[in-house]
C-alpha cells in the first residue's frame, strides 16, 4: 500500500524540493504564514496554528488564511477540534465584518459542533449584524460579556472613544493620570466593541449622507457625553461635519464616497488594464 504521500510532508521533502528548485536548502523554521502558503495540508502544523490564533487575539492581528487552514485540519481530523479555539476564530471573523469571514468559517464547522452554546450565541450575534439589527446586537452582546472578553482592547482606539472620561477625571482630581490606570476595568471586550463599531460606521457610510444623531447612537451603542466626544474625534480626524436637522435634532454629515453620493460613482468598470491593450499593438502597427 503506497504511503508515498507521507514523503511529501516531511521536512526532507521540503529540503529536497528546495534543492530541486535550485535553492540552497533552508534549515530555517518557517513562519506560520509561510507554512500556510507552502505546506498547508499537514496535520503536524495544527498546534502551531492554534497558537497563532491565540497570538492573533492578544496582538490585535488577524489572518483569515491561517484560520481557514486550521478549520480545515479540524475537518480532516475531528478528534483534534478544540471548541475554545473555534470560538476565538469565530469572534475574530465577526470583527472582520463586513467581510464574509464568519460565514466562510461556518462552512467548515460540522453541524454537531455548531450546536455548542457559545457558537450558537455567536451565530445569533452574526445574524443581527448581517441584518443590521444593531440594537438587538448590542443587547445580546452585553448579555454575553464574558464570551467576548477574550479579545483585549486596542488602547489608542479606546482613548479615542472615551476621551470624555479622561478629561473629566483630570479636571476633578487635577492630577495627571493615564487612561490605563483609570479605566483598566473597562478594557476587556473593548477590542471587539471597536471592531463592530467600525463595521457599523462602514454600513452607515454606505447608506447615509446625513444621519440623525439618535440613529448613530443606537448603531454604535454610545450615548450622551461619550457620544459627543466620539463625534468630536471623528469631526477632527475623519471628515465628519455637524449640522442642524429638522426640529432641534443633530445631524452628522458623513464623508462623501461613491456609495452615498451617486455622482461620485466611478465609471471605472469599462476601464481596462494596460497589459490587455498591449495585445493588439502588433495589429495596430
Amino acid at each position: 500500500m503506497a504511503k508515498c504521500w507521507h514523503l511529501l510532508l516531511s521536512n526532507s521533502w521540503l529540503l529536497g524540493f528546495d534543492r530541486a528548485m535550485g535553492r540552497e536548502p533552508q534549515q530555517v523554521s518557517y513562519t506560520v504564514e509561510q507554512l500556510v502558503s507552502v505546506n498547508p495540508y499537514n496535520p503536524d502544523i495544527l498546534t502551531e496554528l492554534e497558537n497563532y490564533v491565540n497570538e492573533q487575539v492578544s496582538s490585535q492581528t488577524y489572518s483569515l488564511d491561517a484560520n481557514l487552514c486550521l478549520l480545515r485540519l479540524y475537518q480532516f481530523d475531528p478528534t483534534r477540534l478544540s471548541i475554545a479555539i473555534v470560538v476565538r476564530i469565530l469572534i475574530k471573523a465577526l470583527m472582520a465584518m463586513p467581510a464574509p469571514d464568519f460565514s466562510l468559517c461556518l462552512f467548515l464547522i460540522p453541524e454537531p459542533v455548531q450546536a455548542d452554546e457559545q457558537i450558537k450565541t455567536l451565530i445569533v450575534l452574526s445574524h443581527y449584524l448581517e441584518t443590521a439589527r444593531f440594537r438587538q446586537f448590542w443587547d445580546e452582546a452585553a448579555k454575553n460579556h464574558s464570551l467576548l472578553e477574550v479579545v483585549p482592547a486596542n488602547v489608542d482606539g479606546y482613548i479615542a472613544n472615551h476621551l470624555g472620561l479622561v478629561s473629566i477625571k483630570e479636571e476633578l482630581n487635577n492630577v495627571e493620570m493615564t487612561v490605563i490606570q483609570l479605566s483598566y476595568g473597562h478594557f476587556s471586550g473593548a477590542g471587539f466593541e471597536q471592531a463592530i463599531q467600525a463595521y457599523a460606521i462602514h454600513v452607515l457610510s454606505l447608506s447615509y449622507q446625513k444621519v440623525p444623531r439618535p440613529v448613530l447612537a443606537e448603531t454604535i451603542n454610545i450615548e450622551g457625553l461619550s457620544l459627543d466626544k466620539f463625534i468630536e474625534y471623528h469631526v477632527a480626524n475623519s471628515g465628519w461635519v455637524l449640522e442642524k436637522g429638522t426640529g432641534r435634532s443633530q445631524l452628522i454629515v458623513l464623508p462623501r464616497n461613491e456609495f452615498n453620493h451617486p455622482g461620485l460613482k466611478k465609471n471605472s468598470s469599462d476601464g481596462m488594464p494596460f497589459e490587455h491593450i498591449t495585445r493588439i499593438f502588433p495589429v495596430l502597427s
Binding site: 503506497a2 511529501l8 462552512f107 448581517e130 445631524l251 469599462d270 495589429v283
Partner: protein, 531 residues
C-alpha cells in the same frame, strides 16, 4: 428535501448517461465470461500503436487513439467488462513501466465510467495514481501527451476521491469484507494525500512562475498550448501542474472552503484567453466552481458575469462536441449553471447583464421558478432548496470513518450543512426583495412613508435599508467594496433618494476580443493560396 440528490453513484457514474445493461448483480455473472488475461487482437494493435506513438512523441496520433480508438473499442467490446489486465498487455509494450501506469489509469477510468468499481479496485486505483504522480514528480518523464488526456487524469483523480468519500461514508449496508478493506487500507484516498499530490504538482512544475514570466513575455506557454514543439521537452509535469490548480479549486469547493479554492486559482486569469480553454472540460470546470464559490461569497455580479460568458460559449460550440465522450458531462454542467444563474439573479436581480440568447434559455427553463423565488414565501425556499440541491457540487466529509461505533450513512452531512447555511443566507435577505420593488417605483421617498407601505415601523425600516446596503455590497479578495445591486439609494436625514445604476457593458473587452479574432482570420485567409 434531499430526495432528488443522488449520491448513490455506486450503480453508475452519473457523468455518463449509459447505465450498465447488466444491472447491479451483473458483476459476478460477467466475471464468469471475462478473462482478464485474454487480449483480443484489436487491443493488441491498440496498445502497440499507442506505445509507439508515445515513444515517437506524436501527440496528434496519441490524441486520436485516446479519444477515438479507446472509446470505440470500449463501446464495441468492453461494455460490460473491464479491459484486459495490465499484466496481459505488458509483454506487447516491452513491459514499459510508465506505459503500464498510463494504461492502468485508463483501465480504472473505464471501470468507473461503465461498471461499478469494487472497494478493492478503488484502493488499487489510488495506488496507481500514487505511482503515476510519483514518477511524474521525480521529473523522469520525457513524453508529450495530449492536453485532453492530462486534464482527464486530474479530473478523474479528484472525481475518484469524491466518489470514495461518498463510498466510505455509507456504512450501513457494507459487508464485513468491505469494512475490513476500509480498516486495512485506511490510507487510501486520504484527504491529506490528495491535496498534497495536487499541491506538489503545482509546485514542482513551477507553473505559477511560468505564468508570471509569460506576462513579461519571457515564456511561451499559452501560445503553444503548453506543448514544446521545437525542444520536445515533456509537457506532462507542466500541464498536470496547471490542471492541478483547477483540481485544488474543485477539492476546496467540495470541502466548503470557497475562499482558499479561489486563491488556488489565483495564477490563472479567467478574464483572458488561456490554456484552460483548450480542453472544454477544464474550461467548464473552472467557471462552474469559480461561479459557485462567488455565489457562496455573495459576489453575485461576478458569478453572473462568468456564468453568462460560459453559457454563451457552450450554446455556440456544443455542437462540435456531440461525438465526444465528454458531451453528457458538458450538458449536465450546462443545466446546473443555468440553475445557479437563476439563483444568483433571484438574490440579486440585474438588468441587461445577460446575453440575449442565454436569457432566452434561462427564461425557458426557470422563469416560473424565478418568479417564485422572488416572492420569499415558503414555496420560495422550497425552490431555492431544489435548485441548490440540483446544482451544487457533491460535498464530502473528508475525515476517515469511525468503524467501531454504530454504522450509519453520513454521506449527506456535508451537503446538508452547506444547504442549511445557504438557505440561512437566503432568509436573511428576505426583506430586501420587497424593498427593491418599492425603490423601483420612486425617485425619492421619506422613510416614514415607505415604512407605512411596507407595514413596518420606522426603526425596522432603517434596519432593512442598512441590511440592503450591506448585503448588496460584497467585499472582494483585496478588501475592496463592490456594489452588486442594480437599484441603489442614499439617505439624507429622513429622505431616501433612489439611484438606478446603469448596467456597464464591457465594450473595451468586447472590441479587443473581436480585433484579435478578426486579425487571426485575416492571417489565415492570407495563408490560403489560390492556384
Amino acid at each position: 428535501m434531499a430526495n432528488s440528490y443522488d449520491y448513490d453513484d455506486a450503480s453508475f457514474d452519473s457523468r455518463y448517461a449509459r447505465p450498465p445493461s447488466s444491472g447491479q448483480g451483473g458483476g459476478a455473472a460477467a466475471e464468469l465470461i471475462y478473462d482478464p488475461n485474454f487480449v483480443p487482437d484489436s487491443v493488441k494493435t491498440f496498445v502497440v500503436h499507442l506505445y509507439r506513438h508515445i515513444r515517437e512523441k506524436n501527440v496528434y496520433e496519441i490524441h486520436q487513439m485516446y479519444e477515438g480508438s479507446f472509446q470505440r473499442l470500449s463501446d464495441r467490446m468492453f461494455r460490460e467488462n473491464p479491459w484486459p489486465s495490465v499484466e496481459a498487455i505488458a509483454p506487447y509494450v516491452d513491459n514499459d513501466h510508465v506505459f503500464c501506469l498510463l494504461y492502468r489509469e485508463m483501465w480504472f477510468r473505464h471501470v468507473y465510467a461503465r461498471l461499478a468499481p469494487t472497494g478493492q479496485q478503488r484502493v488499487e486505483s489510488w495506488d496507481n495514481y500514487c505511482s503515476l504522480f510519483g514518477v511524474v514528480l521525480h521529473g523522469v518523464v520525457s513524453m508529450q501527451l495530449p492536453n485532453q488526456w492530462l486534464w482527464d487524469m486530474v479530473d478523474e483523480f479528484v472525481y475518484q476521491f469524491q466518489s470514495y468519500c461518498q463510498y466510505r461514508a455509507k456504512l450501513k449496508n457494507k459487508t464485513e469484507e468491505e469494512l475490513q478493506l476500509l480498516r486495512q487500507y485506511d490510507q487510501a484516498w486520504n484527504v491529506y494525500g490528495v491535496l498534497n499530490y495536487l499541491q506538489a504538482l503545482v509546485e514542482k512544475s513551477a507553473i505559477v512562475d511560468i505564468l508570471e514570466r509569460e506576462k513579461d513575455g519571457l515564456e511561451q506557454f499559452t501560445a503553444t498550448d503548453g506543448y514544446d514543439y521545437e525542444g520536445g521537452t515533456s509537457n506532462v509535469l507542466k500541464m498536470l501542474g496547471y490542471y492541478s490548480m483547477i483540481g485544488l479549486l474543485r477539492v476546496h469547493c467540495l470541502l466548503g472552503d470557497y475562499h482558499t479554492g479561489l486563491k488556488c486559482l489565483g495564477p490563472i486569469d479567467i478574464s483572458q484567453q488561456g490554456v484552460y480553454m483548450i480542453v472544454i472540460g477544464s474550461h467548464i470546470s473552472i467557471i462552474y466552481h469559480y461561479g459557485f464559490a462567488n455565489l457562496m461569497l455573495r459576489r453575485y455580479v461576478e458569478a453572473i458575469r462568468e456564468f453568462n460568458k460560459i453559457l454563451l460559449y457552450i450554446l455556440k460550440y456544443k455542437q462540435y462536441h456531440q461525438k465526444s465522450p465528454q458531451y453528457d458531462q458538458i450538458l449536465k454542467k450546462n443545466e446546473q449553471m443555468y440553475a445557479l444563474l437563476a439563483i444568483c439573479l433571484s438574490l440579486c436581480p440585474q438588468s441587461n447583464i445577460i446575453e440575449e440568447n442565454v436569457n432566452i434559455q434561462l427564461r425557458d427553463k426557470y422563469n416560473e421558478k424565478m418568479t417564485k423565488m422572488l416572492r420569499y414565501d415558503d414555496e420560495a425556499y422550497a425552490v431555492y432548496d431544489e435548485l441548490f440541491t440540483y446544482a451544487c457540487p457533491k460535498f464530502i466529509t473528508p475525515s476517515a470513518p469511525v468503524l467501531e461505533e454504530s454504522l450509519i450513512n453520513y454521506n449527506q452531512d456535508a451537503y446538508r450543512l452547506q444547504l442549511k447555511l445557504f438557505l440561512y443566507e437566503v432568509k436573511q435577505q428576505q426583506s430586501l426583495s420587497g424593498l427593491r420593488s418599492f425603490l423601483k417605483l420612486y425617485s425619492a421617498i421619506s422613510i416614514g412613508k415607505l415604512a407605512a407601505y411596507m407595514e413596518v415601523d420606522e426603526s425596522t425600516m432603517r434596519t432593512i435599508l442598512l441590511a440592503y446596503k450591506h448585503k448588496m455590497h460584497s467585499v472582494d479578495s483585496d478588501g475592496k467594496i463592490i456594489p452588486n445591486a442594480d437599484i441603489d439609494f442614499y439617505i439624507s436625514e429622513d429622505i431616501i433618494h433612489v439611484v438606478e445604476s446603469k448596467p456597464t457593458k464591457h465594450y473595451g473587452d468586447y472590441f479587443l476580443r473581436q480585433v484579435l479574432k478578426f486579425e487571426e482570420m485575416i492571417s489565415e485567409l492570407d495563408r490560403v493560396k489560390l492556384d
